[in-house]
Symmetry: C2
Subunit: 379 residues, 2 copies
Amino acid sequence: MATASLPSDLDRRYGLVRQVVLPGPLPLDGGGSLSPVEIAYETYGTLAPDGGNAILICHALTGDQHVASIHPRTGKPGWWTRMVGAGRPIDPARHFVVCANVLGSCMGSSGPASVDPASGAHWGMAFPVITIRDMVRAQGLLLDHLGVARLRAVVGGSMGGMQALSWPATFPDRVEAAVVIAATARHTAQNIAFHEVGRQAVMADPLWRGGDYYASNEPPAAGLAVARMAAHITYLSEAGLTEKFGRRLQSREAKSFGFDADFQVESYLRHQGIAFVDRFDANSYLYITRAMDYFDLAEEHGGRLADAFRAVPARFCLVSFDTDWLYPTTESRRIVHALNAAGARASFVELSSPYGHDAFLLDSPELNRVVDGFLRADG
Amino acid sequence: MATASLPSDLDRRYGLVRQVVLPGPLPLDGGGSLSPVEIAYETYGTLAPDGGNAILICHALTGDQHVASIHPRTGKPGWWTRMVGAGRPIDPARHFVVCANVLGSCMGSSGPASVDPASGAHWGMAFPVITIRDMVRAQGLLLDHLGVARLRAVVGGSMGGMQALSWPATFPDRVEAAVVIAATARHTAQNIAFHEVGRQAVMADPLWRGGDYYASNEPPAAGLAVARMAAHITYLSEAGLTEKFGRRLQSREAKSFGFDADFQVESYLRHQGIAFVDRFDANSYLYITRAMDYFDLAEEHGGRLADAFRAVPARFCLVSFDTDWLYPTTESRRIVHALNAAGARASFVELSSPYGHDAFLLDSPELNRVVDGFLRADG
């Protein structure tokens, strides 16, 4: 996506690779507040004079704000160019698109790797534990800053879908539609268990040093890599792994009878782990997984999920994938039932894909058709 | 189970808490051989004069030979008293029962924690990489020592089921029947992936020291605990975890907004990890998971599973559990199809249980009925 035609030349609030320091305070679900609040974000397209074309895109656990632009550090295309771009369901020619790095992350928004202005040192584990709703409220502050009163839609997959669900529940008057893909309204015991393994892997690494590793320049890479490996398995389907790797050996004719990565799947996983530690902060991983584990939209509304959607005028579009065992179709169906019980307008489709949870990031013409149709429909 | 009536008073080969050092050499699939071969084992009951009542029980990844006796160190009952004992499907009053600690383990059989007689030091990572078939061949040596020419049956669940499958394929003339519970004929990419996470967790622990931690008396406990936690999730079903823990908090009224074990499932997993390192050797964990990942019975027979069972006279009983996602029913069915294609006699049942893979270790009257009926049937 070229930057020349973006409104960034007119108003420095808009454009790629933006970062703003908002005064806050941002009240937090865990008590207390955060002030100031740094938010790194990007915008694409132009906000319509009536403000009616704004779409907020929410990223997943380890995602970032570079949804459809070249990543400034890696040089890689944005993570959702299949969904966002010219001729895509979310099109800067028609939409004003905003994507912000979530609170707690490490891509420019306030998180444990940020410097606490009060102490002048990195927050580390002194950063407050945050929730999905805190992320949403921080996005609300950003939209205030950008002059976006209402969202035509909020769209996200995985943890982005949790935010997309939380948005209308938190700001019922600011959202016209929510697209919730491969997500869930609460983390189950198994979801929590996998995240806890990852956190324990990070914390077991002596280089973690209670989260105080920024000065040493030696992050707990080994622990974080193990955490990523464990999580990565949950993003893929068993059938997808079998199709992609099966029991094929890695660059060898026969088993080595040793502990090298004999199998392609081992080599692939090790690579996933190693590549991840180059781009992600270990403490952010702890904080964001915690926010996801804490997420239970029903609990925030007296224990009844439907009550989260009472008096919510937004339309909802739910999409699940049949081989997603992290947030399986049953979880999307639970949400749809609650929406129905609350009298909210909801459409739901389960798409077929061999790729498990990660399917929402991959090429899926059906997904694009569903999202495009939903976004074009009138409220 | 009382020891007084066991034949151990007559012949020191028989009885509880036995260990034998066999001269070998034991040829290994990876090349070379092991000599001598230590095997820790237990026997229950009396070998019939015609030798026709011997049953070999094969244990799972982290199991041991104390199948139906009080564990000498922990004081806990044997791990399969539901299946083995007076009035049980495998009954020392009728059967001569043998259970041996597998090669590579750490409960008294030769493994990385054993002392290499050639060097006088612990083997560590110099121990040869072994296979499921190597374990089976070591059991064959033990049976020779015990004077057991033929097995009335070989019985096992999980990795024990892999051995029970491998037995007739390796020694077609020594086995009359095989009971294969919650097992698979090959490790899939996902199975390998989970094990690789565990191995990387162990090896990432600085205390692992390339496997050379025996002298330090500081094993890589943190890494092994993480490995166990990750594996443990695969032993339980999502529904079982939800039923047992859901999102319930651990000894608190509200979330702590910290990184303690807020959720019961976190506390449970941490406990599983910590308890495990007290009883298991980290290097053994590496070796045995490797043996399981290498297991592919078809591959050992030219790539066709049915060929593993050609000219095998044994009867087979396959049992799977509907919520077992580690070795799901589809894997047992693959085996049954291969047995059918080979003209072998096979019965198969999928049992219903909420408990996932671990169901084979838990109370299951249906499992007992199936095994009892199968063992009582005439060859």
